[in-house]
Structure formats: C-alpha cells, structure tokens
Symmetry: C2
Subunit: 140 residues, 2 copies
C-alpha cells in the first residue's frame, strides 16, 4: 500500500490544524532537538498552546523577538497508510496581553495539570502539509 504525497495549500493546512485538538511543538533546547505533544486552538491564523516549555526556551520565548519553532499535527492511519500531516514554522511568543491571555485560558484547557503554565502564540511564517494519497485513486 504505497502512497504518494499530495501537497496541501496554506488554507487547507490551516483548516486541518484548526480541526484537530492536538499537535507537537518542536524547538531547540540547549542545542538539542526537542518535541512535546500539546493541545492547541487556532485563532486568527495563529496556533495557541499552553505549556511550560522550560529550559533555555523559557527565556527566549518570553523575549520580544520570540523563538522560531515548528508546530506539527497529523492524522495518519497506520493500517491504511492514509491521512495528512501539517507543519507550521514560525515565531513563538508569550501572550502577555491580559485580556488575550484570559480569553485563551478560558478557551484552551491543558490536558495535563500544570503549575504556572504559559500561553504561547505561534505565528506561522511557513505552512506546509500533505495528504498520503493512493496513486491509483489520484490518477482517476
């Protein structure tokens, strides 16, 4: 059951991200690649997460410049080898505006009990994704 990759448009990527409750934030922590599953919402084209990123990221995500991360979500059927994957690459910054922060804290409940979590907005500068497609169906 070998598949081909059909590229998604930016709009399709954003729709799929908005329609799925969780993904994985990918960042560099003390020069090592790091990844953490989190739940998210999409608001005005940005991915909003709540996390304790910790380590070296905690300070950079809190700076005005922010920190570049990737945010990935997928729904792939391991038996049928069908589904999709989307990656949003962009700048992550702490949400500091009290009204925004309060609104996101209402809308987005972390699945894991956390002390002192942060609300983080990831503004995608690059949105790419694909579907795994049956080449026979694609050729029809």
């Amino acid at each position: 059951m070998s598949r081909v990759l059909a590229e998604l448009t930016v709009d399709e990527c954003l729709t799929l991200l908005a329609g799925t409750p969780m993904g994985r934030v990918v960042f560099t922590d003390r020069a090592l690649p790091a990844i953490r599953p989190v739940n998210h919402i999409v608001d005005a084209g940005a991915v909003i997460i709540r996390s304790r990123l910790g380590g070296s990221v905690a300070s950079t995500v809190g700076s005005a410049r922010g920190v570049v991360v990737a945010y990935q979500a997928d729904q792939i059927d391991p038996h049928e080898h069908t589904g999709w994957s989307v990656v949003a690459t962009g700048t992550a910054r702490l949400v500091t505006d009290p009204a925004d922060k309060a609104r996101y804290e209402r809308l987005l409940r972390p699945w894991v009990s956390m002390d002192a979590d942060c609300v983080i907005r990831i503004e995608p500068q690059l949105l790419t994704g694909y579907r795994l497609v049956d080449p026979a169906a694609a050729a029809r």
Copy 2:
C-alpha cells in the same frame, strides 16, 4: 479531564516504540526546527527509519559523526486525554553496511513511494516518555 504525567522507564519507552509503526523524526534544517512523520522499526535498541532527509541534514547524517535528532512517537486519545508519548534523542547515521541495509529494506517498507531513500539508524542516548494518567486512578 485533567491528567497527570507518569514517567516511563527506558525499557517501557523502548517497548512502546517497538510496538508502534510510526513516529516523527525531529532535526534542524538550515537552522530551523524540522519534523517529518515516518514509519519505523526498532532493532537491537535502535530506531531504524527510511527517509530522504534532504537539505543540510543529508550531508551530516552521512558523516561518520552523524547528526543528533529526536524521534518521537505517541498514542494519545484526544477525547479521553489518555495515552503515552516517547522521545528518543540520539545520533542518526546512515546505514552503509550492505547486509544491514538490505535486511532493513526488506523489513521496513516506506509508506510513501520514494526515489533514492536512505536507511538511517538512530541510536538513542536519551529515552524519555510518560503516560497521561487519571489522578484519581493513580491515587488508588
């Protein structure tokens, strides 16, 4: 349905990785965090994948020194907020031994049709993971 994280042992992490067919390789590509879903097998404690990593990673993964990547897999129920996540961090190197390469190519069929893919061995130096646990059940 808030959960707590129960840390997994190294052996539990490896067993869960070996029992799941796919995960995500996380690396740095031209100074940006990158992530790609792939299928894998576990052989003698190492994660084996086939991919065209491309870009700046293609040259470093082919060097004797290899390149440090993270490999992540999870099975999280987005409704029940239960499941697990495992991250293996370690050195990725091309499998160049012809017998090993041929054996892995038999055992591990890529889900996506690829020209000229590579077989890559990731030797975990760090294996961490957790289960999302109902705190009420955990306290029993």
